[in-house]
Amino acid sequence: MGIRTLVAMLVIALVVIGALATQESYRMFMPGLLQGAVLTVEIAVLGSLLAIIMGVLAALARMYGPTPLRWLATVYVEIFRGTSALVQLFWLFFVLPQFGVTINAFVVAVLALGLNVGAYGSECVRGAIQSVARGQWEACTALNMSRPQMLRRIILPQAFVAMIPPWGNLFIELLKSTALVSLITLSDLAFKAQQMNQNTFKTIPIFTLVLLMYLAMSLVVTIGMRLLERRASLGLARGKAA
């Protein structure tokens, strides 16, 4: 979908939210839902940061680390990709305390989602690094660069562009997964929705607003990543000409 269509969808979503908010039966839910949305955004942003850090570290450890580190990274990626995000969330929330480690729900949410998406992200990072043309690697060797120099100056800047679209998908996945944290007692957007639904039984206005809010947030991420991609690939001879 073109970036213009996405922007149009975002504008429509926001206008519809605004229009609904002027109606009495919808307005009463807005403050609570917005409060929830703030928490959702906080978890999504912190989770994304953790995911980026974990993704890059795990990918580098798997590609260049010493054998034990490589094993550790592989086990991390397989465990977090192989089990459900919800199971991971519950495990950190219910099981870790039994081993004497009690973490508050917000930190659990950020940890679980960040580690989960980071595991998927490490594969994107690895793929992107490996997709950099062979000649680039050989040229670095020919210029007698050390490996950190090679990665920092030549490989990663090129791999970065290839990483943007898959990471965009992952950020949206993460944003949507934040709805799961409502099940470990955090009062995010999904939790507020359910709570209000149980109190008022005004199901239609609540869930319509919630769906629109999530839609708007995802569209912001999609549009942002598209713009970033456009900006990052300026001057690079790759893909279709703009």
Binding site: G82, T83, F90, K176, N197, I204
Partner: protein, 219 residues
Amino acid sequence: MIWDWGFALEILPVLARAAIISIEATLIGFALAASLGLVLAVVRIAVPWTSWTISVLVELIRSTPLLIQIFFLYFVFPKFGVVLDAFTAGVLAIGIHYAAYCSEVYRAGFDNIHRGQWEASIALNLSSWTTFRDIIIPQAIPPIVPALGNYLVALFKETPLLSAIAVMELMQTAKIIGSETFRYTEPITLVGLFFLAMSLVSAALIRSLEELLNRRTTR
């Protein structure tokens, strides 16, 4: 004692029974996703004016959380007089959610068919139904089987969400065992291990399927 093997063995049969519900939900959900996805992808090409509507619909479904969609089907539909039990609502939501993803996979498959195949079908005066059934789909499906397989695994890993509307699948059963015995360590860890094992096995299966298909379709 942090980990109790006796207790773990004791709850294993209960969890195994719940695992069947999870697998049932996965299979029905994926059957729905795969067929509805195909319908969406075909209609989008065969009836040009629906193309824009379907792409907006797919975008809407893909950018809102599955959990909210499950709640939506379970809580909002009864207001319109459609009362679904928890299992049906959950499986329907999962199926529709993944149908949106699958339709994009099918679209990629259709886009990869050589243009000459479409043109030849027009030249031979085949109806669009025959073109899809006999020419396009048989060529488009094999290359995308691995991608569909990945979504099958992803869908399977989403089934714990059904616990949010109290479907007695694996996660819900583990939670109930936990709340009855105050021991969460064993049930939740076992559920995690079960998913890990299933995912690793299905990843290996998909990889070998991929190799098989590559060998068959390499010309």
